[in-house]
C-alpha cells in the first residue's frame, strides 16, 4: 500500500516536472533573448606593482555596472538589457593582460572590452583587442607608445602622458616666489618616463630651467642616494614621473634625506587613496597632475553632475574617486552611448563593433567627466589637464584658476618645521 502511494507520488512528481520543463523550454527562447545581458570584459592588475592602482579601475567599472543595472539596464529599442562584467587579474604583467583579453574575447565571448590599468599592460592588451576588432576605451593609460601604432580600435579618455602633466608646468609661473629651476626624475617605465619627458619638454616654454633629469628602474627600492644627489643641485621644484608606489617612496626618501624643494609635483600617485593613507601628514603640500575633479561643471543623464558622481561613489566605496576612475567610467559611458544610438542589442556581431569604432571617431561626447573627442590616434584631444594639491589631508583643485576651488600653498614647509 505504502509502496503504491509512493509510486503514485513519484508519477505525479515526474509529470509535474515534465510539464514544468515544457513550459520552461517553450518560453525560454524569448526570455533568454530579453534577458541576455551585454557581456563586458576587462583585465586589470589587482596584484603586483600596480595592484592598488588597478583595483581603482575595477571599482570604477563595478560602479558603472551597478548604476546602469539599478536603472534597469541599458535601454535599446525600448527594451532594457543589464550589464554583466567579467574581469581577471593580470598581476601587473603585460603578457598576462594580453592573454586574458584574448580569453575574454574567444572563450567568454564578451560583447565589449574595456581598458585596464597601466601603460605596459594596456599596450599588450590593446594589441589583442585590435586584432579581434574590439573597440577598447581606456581611462588609465597614456604613454605615447599607445598612440603611434596606427591602431583604429584603441580609444583613450586621458590625454597623452606629456599632455597630462602640462598643467603642472603651466602653474609654475603663477607661484610666488616664482620657481626658475627644476629637477626631473621618473621611473623608467612607459607612462612615468613619458610624463618625465613631458615635464622636460614644457618646462623651458614656461621659463623653467631643467638642471637635473634622471630616470631610474622600477626595481630600485631605495631612493635616498638619488634624492641626495638631486638635493645637492638645489632645484626650486622637483617634478616626478610616477605611479603611486613611486610617489610614496619619493616622499619617504625626501624626508629621510631632509630635502624640501619649494614644490614637489607628481604625474600620478597622490590622487590614489593609499598615498595619503600611508603617508598621513607627510603627504601635505604635494601637487599632482589630474584630469578630473568633482567641482568641474560637467554632467550627463546616467550619473548627473560631476559632484553627483563623486558623492554616489563615496557612498558606495567610502572614498572619493580618483581621476582615472572617472575616466574609466567615462569610457564605459561612451560605449553605452554607442549601443543606444546605434541600437545594437546583445549579442554583438563583428560588424556592430566596427560601426561602434567609427561612431567613436564621428563626434564629440560630453558626460560627467567632461568633453571627449577622439583624435585619429585615439587620444582624447580636448580634455584639459588640471592640477590638485594636498591641503589639510584633502585634494584641492588649484589649477587652472578659472575652475580652481582653492589657491596653491607654496612654497612647501621644510620637514623640520612641520
Amino acid at each position: 500500500m505504502k509502496v503504491g502511494k509512493k509510486r503514485k507520488n513519484l508519477r505525479s512528481f515526474s509529470i509535474g516536472l515534465v510539464v514544468l520543463a515544457g513550459v520552461f523550454l517553450w518560453s525560454s527562447p524569448e526570455t533568454a533573448e530579453a534577458e541576455r545581458p551585454y557581456r563586458v570584459g576587462f583585465a586589470v592588475p589587482l596584484t603586483g606593482a600596480f595592484g592598488k592602482d588597478g583595483a581603482l579601475v575595477k571599482d570604477a567599472y563595478l560602479f558603472w555596472q551597478e548604476t546602469v543595472n539599478a536603472q534597469g539596464g541599458i535601454e535599446v529599442k525600448k527594451k532594457r538589457y543589464p550589464v554583466e562584467l567579467i574581469y581577471y587579474d593580470d598581476k601587473s604583467e603585460p603578457q598576462s593582460s594580453a592573454k586574458l583579453v584574448e580569453k575574454l574575447i574567444t572563450e567568454d565571448k564578451v560583447d565589449l572590452i574595456l581598458g585596464g590599468f597601466g601603460s605596459s599592460q594596456v599596450i599588450a592588451a590593446s594589441a589583442v583587442s585590435e586584432k579581434f576588432r574590439y573597440p577598447m576605451t581606456c581611462g588609465a593609460a597614456s604613454t605615447l607608445k599607445l598612440f603611434d601604432r596606427g591602431f583604429q580600435y584603441y580609444f583613450s579618455l586621458l590625454g597623452k602622458a606629456p599632455e597630462e602633466v602640462r598643467g603642472c608646468i603651466e602653474i609654475l609661473p603663477t607661484l610666488t616666489p616664482r620657481p626658475t629651476t627644476a629637477a626631473i626624475i621618473g621611473a623608467n617605465i612607459p607612462f612615468s618616463a613619458d610624463a618625465a619627458d613631458g615635464f622636460r619638454a614644457y618646462a623651458p616654454k614656461f621659463g623653467i630651467k631643467v638642471i637635473h633629469f634622471e630616470l631610474f628602474p622600477m626595481a630600485m627600492t631605495d631612493y635616498n642616494s638619488l634624492l641626495n644627489k638631486v638635493k645637492g643641485k638645489k632645484p626650486d621644484v622637483l617634478l616626478v614621473g610616477s605611479h603611486s608606489l613611486v610617489a610614496i617612496r619619493v616622499m619617504k626618501g625626501l624626508k629621510e634625506v631632509d630635502f624640501t624643494p619649494q614644490g614637489v609635483f607628481f604625474s600620478y600617485g597622490p590622487t590614489v587613496p593609499d598615498f595619503l593613507n600611508s603617508l598621513g601628514k607627510d603627504g601635505e603640500y604635494v601637487f599632482a597632475a589630474s584630469e578630473w575633479t568633482p567641482n568641474l561643471p560637467y554632467r550627463d543623464h546616467v550619473f548627473g553632475t560631476a559632484r553627483d558622481f563623486n558623492n554616489q561613489y563615496i557612498k558606495r566605496f567610502g572614498r572619493a574617486p580618483d581621476f582615472v576612475e572617472a575616466a574609466s567610467v567615462a569610457g564605459a559611458l561612451v560605449q553605452l552611448q554607442a549601443l543606444q544610438e546605434l541600437e545594437f542589442t546583445p549579442p554583438l556581431k563583428d560588424a556592430d563593433r566596427e560601426k561602434i569604432m567609427k561612431f567613436f571617431y564621428s563626434k564629440r561626447f560630453d558626460n560627467f567627466y567632461g568633453p571627449i573627442r577622439f583624435g585619429p590616434d585615439g587620444a582624447n584631444e580636448i580634455h584639459p589637464p588640471v592640477v590638485v594639491q594636498v591641503q589639510g589631508g584633502k585634494l584641492v583643485h588649484v589649477f587652472p584658476p578659472d575652475t580652481a576651488e582653492g589657491k596653491p600653498v607654496y612654497p612647501m614647509k621644510p620637514w623640520k618645521k612641520r
Binding site: K52, F216, A219, N228, K229, I248, V257, S278, L279
Partner: protein, 294 residues
C-alpha cells in the same frame, strides 16, 4: 665632498638593512644547504606583524620586535617540521621547488588577508634625521643598522661560543658524522630554520619604518639576500655584514656618481663577477660546493 661622504653614509646604512635581511638566509643555507626562496616573505611577514601591532594596539614599532621574533620563530619551526625536514638528503632542486612554493603560498595568503594596499609605519619620529657636520643621518636607518650589528653579533656568539652553536656548526660541517656522534640533527635543523625565520622577521620589523609594506615586497629581498650572501660568502653568517655593506655602498655610489638606472645592473654584474672569480665570498670563508651529507 659632502656629497661623497653623504653617499657613503647612505650606502653604509642601506648595507645595514641588507645585512639584517640576509643573515637568516645565510644561516639556513650554511647549516642545511637550503636556498630558501621564501626568505623575503619572512621579511614581509615581520614588517606586517609590526605594522598591525602598531596600528591595532598602538605599540611602538621597536617594542614589537619580541613579538615578531616569537611569531616567526614558531612559523619557522612548523614550516621546518612539516615541509623542509622531508627534504633532508634530497637534491638541492627539491629545496628550490619547495621554498618557491612556500613563497607563492605565503605571499598569496598575505595578499588575500591584507590586499595589495601599500602601507607604511608612520610614527611621530618616522623619517626624522640628525645632522652632523652637514651630513644627514635618518634615525630609523641608524637604528636598523645598529640592530643588524646586534643580530649578527648575537648569531656569531651563539654559533661560536655556545654548546648549541657547536652542534649547529658540527651538523653544518658533516651531517653524517655529527649524527654518529649523537647529535640529533633534525632538532638542530628545526632550531636553525626557526632561528633563521625569526631573525629575518626581526629585519622585516626594522625595515617597516623605511620601506613601503605590501604582500609582494618579499621577492626583491630574497634576490638581495642572495647577492649579499654570495658577496659575503655563502653560509658564512658574519660575512653577510660585509656583503650587505659592500652591496649598499656600491649601489649608493653608483647612483650618486653614475646613474640610478645603472645601479641595479651593477649589483647583478658584481654578483656575476663574484660567482665566476671568487665564489667563496670576499672573505673566502663561504661554502663553495654543498656536498657533505646533503
Amino acid at each position: 665632498m659632502i656629497l661623497f661622504w653623504q653617499s657613503l653614509i647612505n650606502g653604509l646604512l642601506l648595507g645595514g638593512i641588507y645585512a639584517a635581511c640576509s643573515a637568516g638566509f645565510s644561516l639556513a643555507f650554511g647549516v642545511m644547504g637550503v636556498v630558501n626562496l621564501s626568505h623575503g616573505d619572512f621579511v614581509m611577514l615581520g614588517a606586517f606583524i609590526t605594522y598591525w601591532i602598531f596600528i591595532l594596539a598602538g605599540i611602538d614599532p621597536f617594542l614589537t620586535l619580541p613579538f615578531t621574533f616569537l611569531i616567526l620563530f614558531f612559523l619557522g619551526f612548523f614550516l621546518q617540521r612539516l615541509t623542509i625536514n622531508r627534504l633532508v638528503g634530497s637534491p638541492p632542486i627539491m629545496s628550490y621547488l619547495l621554498t618557491f612554493g612556500l613563497h607563492l603560498v605565503l605571499s598569496n595568503l598575505a595578499l588575500r588577508a591584507w590586499t595589495a594596499d601599500f602601507r607604511t609605519v608612520q610614527t611621530s619620529y618616522s623619517g626624522l634625521t640628525m645632522s652632523f657636520a652637514g651630513l644627514v643621518i635618518p634615525y630609523s636607518r641608524l637604528a636598523t643598522f645598529i640592530m643588524a650589528m646586534v643580530v649578527i653579533l648575537g648569531l656569531y656568539f651563539l654559533l661560536y661560543r655556545t654548546e648549541t652553536g657547536r652542534l649547529i656548526r658540527a651538523t653544518a660541517q658533516d651531517r653524517e658524522m655529527a649524527q654518529l656522534m649523537g647529535v640529533k640533527i633534525f632538532k638542530i635543523y628545526t632550531l636553525t630554520f626557526a632561528l633563521a625565520a625569526a631573525i629575518t622577521g626581526l629585519a622585516g620589523s626594522l625595515i617597516s619604518f623605511t620601506f613601503v609594506i605590501h604582500p609582494q615586497m618579499g621577492l626583491p629581498f630574497t634576490i638581495t639576500a642572495f647577492c649579499v650572501v654570495v658577496l659575503g660568502g655563502m653560509g658564512y653568517v658574519p660575512g653577510t655584514l660585509w656583503g650587505g655593506i659592500i652591496l649598499g655602498l656600491v649601489e649608493s655610489l653608483a647612483t650618486t656618481y653614475l646613474t640610478a638606472g645603472i645601479s641595479v645592473a651593477i649589483t647583478f654584474f658584481l654578483l656575476l663577477i663574484m660567482l665566476v672569480t671568487r665564489p667563496q665570498g670576499i672573505l673566502g670563508k663561504g661554502v663553495v660546493e654543498w656536498s657533505k651529507g646533503s
